[in-house]
Symmetry: C2
Subunit: 218 residues, 2 copies
Amino acid sequence: MDLATARSPVPAKRPRGRPRKTLGERDDGNRRRALIVGAAKLFRRKGFAATSTRDIAAAAGMQSGSPFYHFKSKQALLYAVMDEGMRSAMERQGQALQQAARETLDAAGQLRVLVRNHFEVLLGAGSDFIPVMLYEARSITPRQRASLAALQSAYEAPWEPVLQALRTAGRLKAEVKLARLLIFGALNWSAQWFDNRKGATLDELTEAALGLFIGESP
Amino acid sequence: MDLATARSPVPAKRPRGRPRKTLGERDDGNRRRALIVGAAKLFRRKGFAATSTRDIAAAAGMQSGSPFYHFKSKQALLYAVMDEGMRSAMERQGQALQQAARETLDAAGQLRVLVRNHFEVLLGAGSDFIPVMLYEARSITPRQRASLAALQSAYEAPWEPVLQALRTAGRLKAEVKLARLLIFGALNWSAQWFDNRKGATLDELTEAALGLFIGESP
DNA sequence: CCTACCGATCGGTAGG
DNA sequence: CCTACCGATCGGTAGG
């Protein structure tokens, strides 16, 4: 019989660790979320391999072993960042497309919406998730990579008919498949050089891209 | 007086370590070069932080401490890879431009030469150097980064008048500065998805890019 | 260039 | 979630 049992007449079932806030507001989710957000920022700035789990713990105000209470490995944390990033990007894109549908835009207008939203996802405030997903893909397992590839396909799916329509209309002067790869390259690379504090705005960037790809001027 | 001195009547001056090949052919340069080539391959596949100096030593057939005979640090080795990559790319580009000058191409033809050469540098056989330079920039010091930025500026310089001419001629429908950034993005990103063993050839890629950027068909 | 080694750091775990 | 810890690995060095 140990001390705890001896002192307490209450049967058992007392939760371990720090007590939970009794009224909803699950602190649990907040802590897990803090790890994901902190990890995303660090992974983006220093890269996955150069970021220690101790760095991540500190960013979330935890001790060095604590991230492993929420994630079974450093890699699982990376995957969580990427997965959340992709789901959030798809959510945003879905809403942008719904808005566009109400305005019955032509193909060029639809491409503008897609490009603008992609820049937002990539370069907007607090968006480290997608850059991490784009630049740290080699650090996850093939299985994880396959899962994310499925999400990416779903994300890119709405672009296909738009590019196809522009190609048919003679506005896009390159094979659709290669054009899509080159276009995403042009957009994704902006995460390397874009600086929020100086230079062009996202609107200007969008217009430059539309001009470059399909000769569309605002 | 130690054993070596006691045994040898020869004054001193005997070189340490493995004897050099007496007739030119400095083995030295070969070993150093083997380290650079092996490091480039590993840095590209696994990333700088995830590559150990032991991996690199093994790739060059050396023991774990030996890379530090040739380079003072792992970071110095990374910088050597990047620096050599940039110089080689500039050399290639210079020759491509000389060839183009003999043919008196128009601006579109000059852009084709530049794009084609860039794909070659990026995706051609044994070209790990430039991808490493593009994707591992955060792992070098600010001073090293500044040196490489100067080389990059020199590399990009010949593109400027070509793009400017196309802009003036109404072939390029985006501001030159942003267009350049977007174009390099489209090209550079190909290092992420291009597969030599399947899909398009570098020629097809070049034509797709020319079509996309300035509506030029072969 | 090899041998032998060092101090530091890292991902992860047991137990509470 | 913290405390205390472990085994492995890593960049780098002294001396030859």
